[in-house]
């Protein structure tokens, strides 16, 4: 499990987990769930398109992530946010079906792109992934305060001179970056699961932003490591373990929050 060819997978998966943990917290706070799901899913045709014209897969992913970000932000100017997201998603996926049918040899790769494959990471793939994750995390840290402000209250953010539209666009760009790097590993359909599960659990455990972020990263790392180990031993797809473990995180977080509330009510009743 820790042999040299698996080492690359562990490194890349850990990077993915850190980025998902950091960005996921804001996805949860800002309730951007649909966008976090739609961007990776709409980005995956980029890989098929890149294979079709024979360029590096990563370029295709970046171009389609950018198209997704632009589509969502442009369409949502005249439309409800969720409808704009849905329209962007279906248009990109429509292109995806075309690309897939044109490159018949690519259909083998579809499953890996949708549901993830961590065993085939080569050493040369680590550098671009590390670069992208550094960019995504750096941008999030740079935006930390305005992002938090506008997430908690748009009016408050606007009063402090934070443009909500611009923040939304920048955050979508961060999501796009995170998507392009995480997609080949976790799979288009389950990137957002890794963002939601750990972050939502962390948010239920603590109210402090910084502590929640560290906790979210920690849980995401644990989730990915466990998924990778389980996938290695059972040979089952990584995506299955990521999706299930993420749901488990959320369930445990809710259970904990409820128990804590019940306990404090109990204490209050005793004190009163």
């Amino acid at each position: 499990m820790f042999s040299s060819f698996m080492l690359n997978s562990w490194i890349v998966a850990s990077l993915v987990a850190i980025v998902a943990g950091v960005t996921g917290l804001f996805v949860v706070i800002r309730a951007n769930t649909f966008a976090a799901h739609a961007l990776p899913l709409g980005t995956f045709p980029g890989a098929a398109g890149a294979a079709l014209i024979g360029v590096n897969e990563l370029w295709g992913l970046i171009v389609f992530a950018a198209l997704g970000v632009l589509g969502i932000s442009q369409l949502s100017r005249h439309q409800r946010n969720d409808v704009a997201t849905a329209l962007t998603l279906i248009t990109l996926l429509g292109l995806g079906t075309l690309f897939l049918s044109l490159s018949s040899e690519y259909s083998q790769g579809v499953y890996a792109l949708l549901f993830g494959e961590v065993l085939g990471v080569s050493r040369s793939e680590i550098a671009p992934v590390a670069l992208l994750s550094a960019a995504a995390i750096g941008l999030t840290i740079l935006l930390f305060r305005p992002l938090l402000l506008s997430s908690v209250s748009e009016d408050l953010g606007a009063a402090r001179g934070v443009s909500n539209a611009r923040i939304e666009l920048l955050f979508l760009a961060v999501l796009g970056l995170a998507t392009a790097m995480a997609l080949p590993v976790v799979g288009a359909l389950l990137v957002f699961s890794l963002m939601l599960g750990p972050a939502s659990a962390a948010r239920l455990l603590t109210d402090r932003p910084l502590r929640a972020m560290l906790l979210s990263v920690g849980i995401a790392l644990a989730t990915v490591w466990a998924a990778l180990a389980l996938s290695y031993t059972t040979n089952w797809p990584v995506g299955f373990f990521v999706g299930t473990l993420a749901a488990l995180c959320y369930g445990l977080g809710r259970g904990w929050a409820r128990a804590r509330t019940a306990l404090s009510i109990h204490k209050l009743a005793r004190a009163g």
Partner: protein, 298 residues
């Protein structure tokens, strides 16, 4: 005239059985999805609609594995997911999206596992593509009667609860004041939604069924404001897009080398084009309103 017809409809279009099946099933799915889609957009539940379709793919994958009619697989899983979302039920919209996402993630994980079993045990390598992206010309004709039954059932229920459904979608507080059981209506809507997306998931694939649900309804709601009109218009747009897509895909066998382009691609492209076109009148109206305002100011 005959030349024109034979140029538009490639030879054999009207005699082909797979085309008939695709037109009936696809048309039915388009009409039902577009009608429910109008309510779904008004209620702000596009994400739930998309999630239900995605999760229903687990059922599709399971039916491949068990060798049963895929419709029951898709249907069962979608209803199950709708139940799970309602069970965890939360009132605040933010929290609702989160729960939807978590259920969606778990469901997709299950799809991944079942498709993996499909590939390893039954060596059906095409399962992933046909479940996720659909294969319209490969639909067995035996599916027509149950699919039409489900579709007309959904339309019938929507017609029966039309007023309370519309009222609670537009303003739930007002509906409650009028004695509408908002929670029950919401649950019925969720069930109708899961049936509608199932029908589209079988035809154009799980991850593209959102196109039939949201696209025509969004376009119709841009053109007309009255819900009743919007529903009719959405159904027309949906039907037109699907039939147009089938026709273009059939014709594409003639003008592409080899094997034609996929139906789903044409349907989605037509829907998106129609959506963009419906934005034009609004834009012109806005611009002329702005002009007259600035003229007044001057």
């Amino acid at each position: 005239m005959n030349d024109l017809i034979s140029a538009v409809f490639a030879a054999g279009f009207f005699d082909s059985d797979p085309v008939h099946t695709a037109m009936v099933i696809g048309g039915g799915a388009a009409i039902v999805s577009a009608m429910i889609g109008v309510f779904t957009i008004i209620r702000g539940q596009s994400f739930a609609g998309h999630a239900l379709a995605d999760v229903s793919s687990a059922g599709g994958a399971a039916s491949f594995l068990l060798g049963v009619n895929p419709m029951f697989g898709f249907l069962g899983m979608a209803v199950l997911a709708a139940g799970a979302m309602e069970l965890v039920g939360v009132r605040r919209a933010r929290e609702r999206d989160l729960v939807t996402g978590i259920v969606l993630g778990a469901g997709l994980g299950l799809t991944a596992l079942l498709l993996y079993f499909d590939v390893t045990t039954r060596s059906t390598t095409g399962a992933a593509i046909s479940v996720m992206f659909g294969s319209m010309f490969a639909i067995p004709a035996a599916i027509i009667p149950p699919a039409l039954l489900v579709g007309s059932g959904v339309i019938l229920v929507a017609a029966v609860i039309y007023r309370p459904l519309l009222l609670s979608s537009l303003n739930s507080t007002l509906a409650e004041a009028q004695g509408v059981n908002v929670r029950l209506v919401g649950l019925v809507h969720l069930l109708m939604l899961s049936l509608a997306v199932t029908l589209s998931a079988m035809t154009i694939g799980a991850i593209l069924s959102t196109a039939l649900l949201i696209g025509p309804a969004a376009a119709a709601l841009r053109l007309v404001k009255r819900p009743g009109l919007a529903i009719g218009l959405a159904a027309l747009i949906g039907l037109g897009s699907v039939w147009g897509g089938i026709l273009l895909a059939y014709d594409s066998y003639d003008w592409t080398p080899g094997h034609g382009w996929p139906v789903s691609f044409f349907i989605v492209t037509i829907i998106f084009a129609v959506y963009l076109l419906t934005g034009l009148p609004g834009r012109r109206a806005r611009r002329s309103a702005m002009m007259s305002r600035s003229a007044e100011a001057a």
